[in-house]
Every structure is written in structure tokens, then in C-alpha cells.
């Protein structure tokens, strides 16, 4: 306990006390750039969460219900973004979608590039949350629905989706929280352009420019948002388990 509070508690307390500075709050509030960055960070994190819910469910579906040679390798590959250091993820994306344009696409220094990087690092969350639920899903219910004349889409919307919805949402929320604080994978591809900065880069630059209090304020805003999102998720989960 003492160890935990020394290691985690003290630095966090130091961070909170650093942010308890009204001039820093007003500086952040009145800084147009920081506000734009925060808006972009929230928007792009939300976009990543939504896109990940779609691709993640599709990926999990293919990995559980479909069968093809090399499926186990594909399954192992899903975890690659977690194993790969974030800066290498950034380097990798810069190589393929950067100025050298091997595929004729240069998104370095654009917001699309940032979106690519964030999709890359957050890929596993929804897949890994939905996969086990799909595995335990009973096929009989779907077969029964099919016998009763339900079309494939009806089966998906009425039977499968409600079952995997909590898991998908949990995964998407984890992805949202992760992406909101992401740093390493975007520094290379965003190319030091103010327009493509996300919140972590503002924190980093504030520290480098000798304004750690403002950096702490932005950090607390991020932490607070993550906290609110997780509490909302918890409330929603509780409602779903009560009804279902």
C-alpha cells in the first residue's frame, strides 16, 4: 500500500496540485489553439471509437464464425498494435502513407494521417472485447430465427447485436480513452503542424516551453473526460444488465 501510494499517488497528487492554479486555467481557457486542439482531440477520438466499433465487430465476426487458411496468424496479428512501440507504429505509418508515397497517398501532416495512426493503435480493443462474447453465443437461437423465416440482417440486428453490444461499447470506450491520450504514434505523422496536434502534444509542448501548470490543466481535462466516459459506461452497463 505504501509502495503504491508512493509510486502512483504522489506523482498524481503533485499533478493535481500543479493544476490547482486559476491563472493556468484561464490561460488554457483563453488560448484559442489549445481549445481547437481539445475539440479536435475529442472529435477524432469519437470518430475512432465509432469506426472501431464497426471494423472491430466485423473483424471479431470473421475471426470467430469464418474459417480460412492462416486465420490463427491473423488472430495473432490483431495484438500487434499493443506489442509494437507507439513510435515504431508512427514510423511504420509515416513510411507507407508519408512523403515517399509508395502507395500514392501522402497523409503526413494531415488530420487524416492522425486518424490513421489512432486507428492503428486502438485496433485490438473492440475485437478483443467482442470475440469471447461471440464465441459463447448459442447458434441454436440464430438457427431458430432462420427457421422462423428471419433474414440474415434481421438475425444480426435482433439477436447478435444486442448480445455483443455491451462488449463492443466497452471496447470502444477503452479505445476512446486510449486514443484521447495517445502521443507516440502521432508525433511523427502529424509533422509538427499546429492543425494536426492532439492534446498530448500540447501538454508536451507546454512543458517544453516552461508552462507545466497549463500542461497539467490540459492533463486534468483529459483525465476528467476519461473519468466521465467510464462512469457513463458503468451506468449504461448497469441498466443493460438490469433489463436483460
Amino acid at each position: 500500500m505504501l509502495y503504491l501510494s508512493l509510486l502512483v499517488g504522489l506523482p498524481v497528487a503533485a499533478l493535481i496540485s500543479l493544476s490547482a492554479d486559476s491563472t493556468a486555467w484561464s490561460a488554457v481557457y483563453h488560448d484559442a489553439h489549445t481549445r481547437t486542439v481539445l475539440e479536435f482531440t475529442f472529435a477524432v477520438s469519437l470518430a475512432v471509437a465509432v469506426l472501431n466499433s464497426i471494423t472491430g465487430v466485423a473483424l471479431a465476426w470473421v475471426l470467430v464464425r469464418d474459417d480460412f487458411p492462416g486465420k490463427r496468424i491473423v488472430n495473432a496479428l490483431i495484438d500487434l498494435p499493443f506489442a509494437l512501440p507507439t513510435i515504431v507504429a508512427g514510423l511504420v505509418l509515416l513510411t507507407l502513407y508519408g512523403p515517399t508515397k509508395p502507395v500514392g497517398l501522402n497523409v503526413a501532416g494531415t488530420r487524416v494521417g492522425v486518424l490513421f495512426a489512432l486507428l492503428f493503435v486502438s485496433l485490438p480493443f473492440v475485437v478483443r472485447a467482442v470475440q469471447p462474447v461471440l464465441l459463447t453465443l448459442e447458434r441454436e437461437v440464430e438457427d431458430a430465427a432462420a427457421c422462423l423465416g428471419a433474414k440474415q440482417w434481421t438475425i444480426f440486428w435482433r439477436i447478435i447485436l444486442p448480445a455483443i453490444r455491451p462488449a463492443a461499447l466497452t471496447g470502444a470506450t477503452l479505445a476512446f480513452a486510449r486514443v484521447m491520450g495517445e502521443f507516440g504514434s502521432v508525433v511523427l505523422i502529424s509533422g509538427n503542424i499546429p492543425r494536426t496536434e492532439i492534446a498530448s502534444q500540447v501538454i508536451f509542448n507546454d512543458v517544453e516551453n516552461g508552462a507545466p501548470a497549463q500542461a497539467a490543466v490540459v492533463g486534468i481535462i483529459l483525465l476528467g473526460t476519461a473519468l466521465v466516459v467510464f462512469v457513463l459506461l458503468g451506468l449504461l452497463m448497469r441498466r443493460w444488465t438490469r433489463h436483460g
Partner: protein
């Protein structure tokens, strides 16, 4: 028809996002042969980055493994005063941006920080040295072992431990002969994840590092530095080295999780 469209759609997405980019970096690294890569990795600045990364991992990983097992054991076996708070603290490093963690360490050990003030008065340099980087790394990779160990401890229950106690084993004997063997795969798995994170961390160590080439750069910081210095050969070589390490870790994780499931089935059967 629909099934194939979905299958190939999904595989195309994966290859666009994962496979092709990672293959590309291997191609870029070796496009002028092996010897420039070897030269780049054996340069003074690169070897210093490799050494620093290994040093940090060599200190941070054992700390987190030992304390991870201890914390996990306390969480699963003993009544903690406020369990939800302990849980929240342990999971905090996952919920926080690495840059914020770096900033927290920076603030605590900086010249005006609560600990930093004392350190500066006694002229013990911590911030901008490898020590601060170790502290940040321990912080960021704290949850892995705990999170792997706790569910296993809860699942196996206390029957065997109690049996050992009844048969006259001391608490230490019980732990090393009964508990530890039962959770060994969870510990190994958590350790691998900790190593991966410790070697690959960028954001948190960046803020507390001196960023001096040949002294304060870990491998990930070195990659970034080389890209900015327009030295692609070194950047790709170091990047590929990290990518290879993470591929090895990935293979290790996959084989290990297969083995763990088998062991779990054997014990429950």
C-alpha cells in the same frame, strides 16, 4: 457471397492498416543491404540507446514483477481497506496518457516538486537522468502483472494453500511451493507484457529524459531523434529492431496463452 465479401473486406482493412506498413519498414531498412543496417545499429549513439533501454527494463521489470505478485496476492487473499481505491490506483496507469504520467513524474522530481526540492538541496540528480526514466517506466508498466495474477488467484481458490498449511507448511513454503507454481503462467505472461511496455515506452520517458544523444535516449526516443535529424537508415534500423522484439513478444504471447488455456483445462478437469 456476403461471407466472402466480409472476409476479404476485413482482411484488406487489416493489411492496409497493419501488414503492409510493417512489411514496408522491413523493406525500407534493408533496401541498401545488410551492412548499412549493421553499421547504423553498432554506432555509438545506437548502442548507447540499446544499453539505456536494456538498463531501464532490467530495473523496472523485476520491480514490477515482485510488487505485482505481492499486490495481486494482497488483493486476492487479504482484505484491503478500500479495495475499489486500490483497484483504481492500479489501473490508473492504463487510463492516463503517457505524457501526463511523464508530467506527473516531472513535477514531483522537478526543482519545485515535493521530492525534487529535497533532491536538489542534496544535489542528487534524478530528473533528466536514467533514474527518472526508470521511475516513469515502473509507473507506466505497473498494472500488467497484477492484472494477470489476480484473476488466476481468485479462480484457483485457497483449498490447496489451506491443505499445505494444515500439513505444516510455513507461509513462505506455502507460497513458493503451492501458490507460485499455480500462477506461474500468469506471472510469465504479465512479465512479457511488462517487458514489451518498458522497452517500447516513448511519451512518458520523453518528458523526463535529458534527450541528449548518446546519453539520454532510449531506443524509441532514438528512433524519433533520427527521423528528425533526417537519418532514415538509423531510424529504420532501430525501428525494425524494436518491431522484431515486439514480434518475438507477440509469438511468445500467442504460444503462451495456448498453453495457459490447456493448463487451466487440466486443473479444472
Amino acid at each position: 457471397m456476403g461471407r466472402y465479401a466480409l472476409r476479404y473486406g476485413v482482411l484488406a482493412y487489416l493489411s492496409m492498416l497493419l501488414v503492409v506498413p510493417v512489411g514496408m519498414i522491413a523493406y525500407r531498412t534493408f533496401q541498401h543491404g545488410v551492412s548499412p543496417v549493421w553499421d547504423a545499429l553498432s554506432s555509438d549513439s545506437a548502442t548507447s540507446a540499446i544499453k539505456l533501454s536494456l538498463l531501464i527494463a532490467a530495473i523496472a521489470v523485476p520491480i514490477n514483477v515482485v510488487f505485482g505478485i505481492a499486490t495481486g496476492w494482497l488483493l486476492a487473499r487479504r482484505k484491503m481497506p478500500v479495495p475499489w481505491l486500490v483497484n483504481a490506483i492500479i489501473n490508473l496507469p492504463f487510463a492516463m496518457s503517457p505524457v501526463i504520467i511523464g508530467l506527473a513524474v516531472f513535477q514531483l522530481y522537478g526543482r519545485t516538486g515535493w521530492i525534487g526540492q529535497y533532491l536538489f538541496d542534496h544535489q542528487i540528480p534524478v530528473l533528466f537522468t536514467w533514474k527518472a526514466m526508470v521511475i516513469a517506466t515502473v509507473f507506466i508498466s505497473l498494472p500488467f502483472v497484477v492484472r494477470e495474477v489476480v484473476p488466476v488467484l481468485e479462480e484457483i481458490g485457497t483449498d490447496q494453500e489451506q491443505a499445505a498449511e494444515v500439513l505444516g507448511a510455513t507461509a513462505l513454503q506455502g507460497f513458493f511451493r503451492v501458490t507460485l507454481p499455480a500462477i506461474r503462467w500468469a506471472v510469465v505472461y504479465g512479465t512479457i507484457l511488462t517487458v514489451a511496455r518498458a522497452l517500447g515506452e516513448y511519451g512518458a520517458v520523453n518528458l523526463v529524459s535529458s534527450n541528449i544523444v548518446g546519453q539520454g535516449l532510449t531506443l524509441p526516443l532514438y528512433v524519433d531523434n533520427r527521423v528528425n535529424q533526417l537519418d532514415p537508415t538509423s531510424a529504420y534500423s532501430a525501428g525494425l529492431l524494436l518491431a522484431v522484439i515486439s514480434l518475438i513478444i507477440l509469438v511468445g504471447m500467442t504460444t503462451l496463452s495456448g498453453r495457459r488455456h490447456r493448463t487451466a483445462e487440466e486443473t479444472t478437469a
